[in-house]
């Protein structure tokens, strides 16, 4: 009898742990069960990535559609080559769309926003973004403004 009670209570304890783990996974880190694996990769070259980092957000019209895989320096062009992984449901991004680095709020984190083009063809896995817009650098902006150029 006591043995059985112990078993049940310990079972509940483990369940509580699993529940808390699920909470941390789904509600806190926003892991969605379906998304795993089904992404495709495209590339974008920027002259300045600013404070962009891996795991950053990639969004269209404010909705997250993917994330940043990695950022590397291209040794031939001296540009930053950013690898993006996009959810495979969003497979109809027009081929002439532009990738731009934006900041959420004034001091928030930076993310990549895809502004939609008008091409009938869509980006295929492994394609490059044709047009990109680099991070807005406030410091440079101000110095440009001050020197009147």
């Amino acid at each position: 009898m006591a043995q059985r009670t112990t078993e049940i209570i310990v079972g509940l304890f483990v369940l509580a742990g699993m529940g808390a783990m699920m909470f941390l996974a789904l509600q806190v880190s926003g892991l969605s069960l379906a998304a795993a694996g089904s992404t495709y990769t495209v590339y974008a070259d920027f002259t300045d990535t600013g404070g962009l980092g891996p795991r950053g957000r990639v969004s269209m019209a404010g909705v997250q559609v993917g994330s940043i895989e990695s950022i590397e320096l291209d040794r031939d062009t001296f540009k930053a080559r950013v690898t993006l992984s996009i959810d495979s449901d969003v497979n109809n991004i027009p081929a002439d769309s532009a990738a731009m680095i934006r900041t959420s709020g004034l001091l928030g984190e930076q993310y990549i926003d895809i502004s939609i083009g008008g091409d009938l063809e869509s980006l295929q896995p492994g394609d490059n973004f044709y047009t990109t817009q680099s991070a807005m650098n406030i410091e440079r902006l101000i110095s440009n403004f001050a020197s009147g150029r």
């Binding site: 043995q3 310990v10 304890f13 509580a16 808390a20 941390l24 806190v28």
Partner: protein, 260 residues
């Protein structure tokens, strides 16, 4: 001068000797895994007394720490007008640091000291010795289930702590101070990564669980079987566990989150 050097040498040797004994002891415990039919009920009983009974203190502390984080975070972040980042702040501090560390400290105080005292008393009343004379290895019968129970309970307690803390932070931030609930969760989800933050936090708590349980059972097993010996062993358990947890936390954080 020579005395000081000699004392240092002696202390170092003593430390190494006791660390060696503790490792040998650990090996003895881990090598002999009892049959499931015998071991499982013993393990369940220990998970109950080590884990389940620590749940209350963990939940209450988690709630209050989360609420304090909510309050403090709000006052600081509202200076920058970014109080919606409060969710992210609470979640990251809890999941990465406070969850595993505070749970381990509470565990050392609540369960670790109890384990040491229990084993020490069993030693003092010759229960371990009589078990040995009955041809039963107390390392397997008494120590191993307690070690495993601590090891298994800690991650569970830590994730429960983090969850309750986040909910407590939400209670203060969203319900009381009026942060928009959507941005509370949204910011949190955007910045907390499951693998890098949540799983690393769990790995930390697994390591802490192992170290705390090891220290607790070893101090109990190795104590001088008198009342003074047991009380000093209990103190040692809490002090050593806390120091080990904080030191290891630094190392683990550097390895996991540091950019080298």
């Amino acid at each position: 001068m020579m005395d000081a050097i000699a004392r240092l040498g002696k202390n170092t040797l003593d430390f190494l000797a006791s660390f060696g004994r503790a490792s040998q002891f650990l090996l003895g415990v881990l090598v002999g895994v009892p049959k499931p039919s015998v071991g499982l009920p013993l393990l369940l009983k220990q998970i109950y007394s080590v884990g389940v009974l620590s749940l209350v203190i963990v939940v209450v502390s988690g709630l209050f720490i989360g609420m304090v984080l909510g309050l403090q975070g709000y006052t600081i972040l509202s200076d920058f007008g970014s109080e919606s980042a409060i969710g992210q702040m609470i979640a990251l501090t809890l999941v990465r640091e406070l969850g595993p560390v505070v749970t381990a400290l509470l565990f050392a105080g609540r369960a670790g000291s109890a384990l040491t005292a229990e084993i020490g008393l069993m030693k003092a009343t010759e229960q371990l010795s009589s078990m040995e004379m009955m041809g039963v290895d107390p390392l397997r019968r008494v120590i191993a289930p307690r070690l495993w129970a601590g090891f298994l309970s800690m991650p569970i307690l830590a994730v429960v702590f983090s969850m309750v803390g986040i909910l407590g932070g939400m209670l203060v931030g969203v319900e009381w101070l009026g942060v928009f609930e959507g941005s509370f969760w949204g910011n949190m989800q955007a910045s907390v990564d499951f693998r890098d933050d949540v799983l690393n936090g769990v790995i930390k708590s697994v390591v802490f669980g192992f170290v705390c349980a090891w220290i607790a059972v070893y101090q109990g097993y190795d104590c001088v079987p008198t009342s003074a010996g047991i009380s000093s062993a209990t103190t040692k358990t809490v002090v050593y566990s806390s120091l080990a947890v904080l030191g290891l936390d630094f190392i683990l954080t550097a390895v996991m989150f540091g950019n080298f």
